[in-house]
């Protein structure tokens, strides 16, 4: 057990070092990524004026929507996995995956640690632009900081959104064992993600336009936990039993994708060693 923890720590440390080689100028890049917030402020001001309503479905006021948008950026800083699925597919295509067949090391565990390292380095640098933008936009958070239990639920949900994003995208990457190119599949996934994770606007806006039979699907679908759910929790739009249930459903999805990912890897390795290598 101790030996294993030490192995993980070494992998994590080395991955962090590797990420630091590429520290580059992504602080500026991160700041630039907030530029659309200005567009968002204009857009939603116009939308609310035209709708002549104080709140839109889900109880979101204009300020709430802008605060929501900022919070989904935090959620996506946890749940988005740039290059994960395509990286796995590339490793399969180019044969680098062999390393994990030959050496006594677990592919998924290794990728997870590499991703944690990737994220930690990112947060360490991105906290500055994030802090700056949140400070400038503090007035949109009309309720101020949420109470401690809500904050705890928010953090828990963020951590699970990281795990969900990781295992979901890693599972897509494993498809590379069957199809050499996963980029078009990834594109489809991104499209679904765009609509159903809620990173453009609260999902409650969408449900109104969807046919009735889709409502339960929307309520339980996993993508909402990548952006919508943590942000809505922070803003107090989801609370009480609904919050507990949401966290439980999120946890179940994490477990489901952990299993899917592992099964896909095992079957993938089996296929790989049967066909190619």
């Amino acid at each position: 057990m101790l030996a294993r923890a030490q192995t993980w720590w070494t992998i994590l440390r080395i991955c962090i070092e590797e990420r630091l080689v590429y520290r580059g100028d992504f602080m500026l890049g991160t700041l630039m990524r907030f530029m659309p917030i200005i567009t968002q402020i204009f857009l939603w001001t116009a939308v609310y004026a035209a709708a002549s309503r104080a709140t839109l479905p889900g109880g979101f006021s204009k300020d709430d929507v802008i605060a929501y948008y900022l919070l989904t950026m935090v959620g996506r800083a946890f749940s988005s996995m740039p290059g994960l699925a395509s990286g796995i597919a590339r490793q399969i295509r180019e044969g680098e995956i062999k390393k994990f067949l030959i050496q006594p090391i677990d592919l998924i565990g290794f990728l997870l640690l590499a991703r944690i390292a990737h994220k930690l380095v990112y947060y360490a640098v991105a906290i500055i632009p994030f802090g700056l933008v949140f400070y400038l936009c503090r007035d949109f958070f009309t309720q101020g900081w949420p109470p401690a239990p809500v904050l705890a639920a928010f953090v828990l949900s963020l951590i699970m959104s990281f795990l969900l994003g990781f295992f979901l995208e890693a599972a897509i990457g494993m498809i590379g064992f069957w199809f050499l190119e996963v980029s078009s599949l990834l594109f489809v996934y991104m499209l679904f993600n765009f609509f159903f994770s809620g990173h453009m606007f609260p999902l409650t806006f969408l449900t109104e336009f969807l046919p009735g039979w889709l409502q339960p699907v929307m309520q339980y679908q996993p993508l909402q936990y990548l952006a919508y759910f943590p942000a809505a929790v922070f803003l107090g739009k989801i609370s009480g039993p609904e919050l507990v249930q949401g966290l439980m459903v999120q946890a179940i999805w994490v477990v489901v994708f952990v299993v899917v990912c592992r099964v896909a890897m095992q079957r993938g390795f089996k296929r790989y060693s049967g066909y190619g290598g």
Binding site: T10, I14, E18, V21, Q103, I105, K270, S273, G277
Partner: protein, 337 residues
């Protein structure tokens, strides 16, 4: 004691056959044609502890496929193999901690980090005791003379230096069996020689079992007591390197130096002319005829010098490969008719 036991090992790949042209590409979307490539066609081999065996063969002969099977990267279509009692393609961690595979064209090290960091990682994943790790690393870096390069990012190293680092990474956990796939590919003569010298020394001291594939006859001649020639997925020869010539060479090279600068014009009756630089002549003579022809030549001509030699090893092996691929083509044609 047998460390590697292989019996009836076979591996076929199914390869997608794409025909040329757009229409064929379109129909290929719906019905695909596959062809079986029999990369390994039934190999039996036993390797004892401490042997250094070379796999020789042309490209596509099945050398690398065999190494992949033995290191568990792929599983066989039929047959069986045991390495130190383990079935390689079960990929148990117990097995994986006891062997290493080095591929000359594949990089296992972290590109942007110093090699020392990759070695640390290996220490962890192979669970190497810190004292053993320090000792082995010091020994290996000393032998390969790369102590000063340990803290330089791998991407800044030369190909030869990188190969040395690859070898260190593979040997840190003191594997009992080592598979080397073209370890000197792309290296210059000096770097090749350094790697050879190291491997020879390491194997002699540690007595580990090594299987090596190479295109370079020099690697093989320098390192291996035993040579296994593979062509068309089958073993064609298993024995000493010197024995290859005895077993496969059908002719000898007869060099004659005539007296008085007189080269007779009817040399054809002795054998095939290879080289003619008067007064010296090189002839290719069938092995079975050599004594008869030699006595005729000596009786008929005044000679200053005579030598009978085996053809160069490279030529024998090259001939062997050509023969085997021609034979395979004939078989293929016969099979499709």
């Amino acid at each position: 004691m047998a460390v590697i036991e292989i019996s009836g090992l076979k591996k076929s790949y199914r390869v997608y056959q794409k025909r040329e042209g757009l229409w064929a590409s379109l129909t290929g979307l719906f019905s695909r044609e596959f062809r079986d490539v029999r990369a390994v066609r039934g190999i039996d081999l036993t390797v004892d502890e401490g042997e250094f065996v070379a796999f020789l063969g042309p490209n596509g002969a099945g050398k690398t496929t065999t190494l992949k099977l033995l290191s568990g990267v792929i599983s066989p279509t039929a047959g069986d193999a045991r390495v130190m009692g383990f079935v390689p393609w079960e990929r148990t961690n117990e097995y994986r901690r006891r062997f290493a595979l080095v591929m000359g064209q594949k990089n296992q090290l972290w590109w942007d980090l110093p090699a020392a960091e990759s070695f640390r990682l290996h220490q962890q994943i192979y669970r190497i005791e810190p004292a053993d790790f320090d000792h082995t690393l010091a020994e290996l870096t000393d032998l390969l003379d790369v102590g000063k390069l340990l803290n330089q990012p791998v991407r800044e190293l030369s190909l030869g230096e990188r190969m040395k680092m690859e070898l260190i990474a593979a040997l840190l956990h003191s594997p009992e069996v080592l598979f080397l796939d073209e370890p000197t590919i792309g290296l210059d003569v000096i770097a090749q020689h350094n790697i050879q010298k190291f491997l020879k020394h390491y194997q002699e001291v540690r007595r580990i079992t090594i299987l090596l594939t190479s295109h370079y006859m020099k690697d093989v001649a320098a390192l291996c007591q035993r040579v296994v020639i593979i062509a068309q997925g089958q073993i064609m020869y298993d024995g000493s390197l010197a024995g290859v010539v005895d077993s496969f060479s059908t002719h000898k090279v007869l060099t004659l130096q005539f007296a008085d600068d007189q080269v007779p014009s009817d040399l054809d009756r002795y054998g095939e002319l290879i080289e003619l630089v008067p007064p010296k002549v090189k002839l290719r003579v069938e092995r079975v005829d050599i004594s008869r022809i030699l006595s005729t030549v000596l009786a008929d001509h005044a000679l200053e010098d005579v030598s009978v030699e085996d053809p160069p090893l490279e030529d024998v092996i090259a001939d062997l490969f050509t023969q085997s691929s021609e034979q395979a083509e004939r078989e293929e044609v016969a099979a499709t008719q």
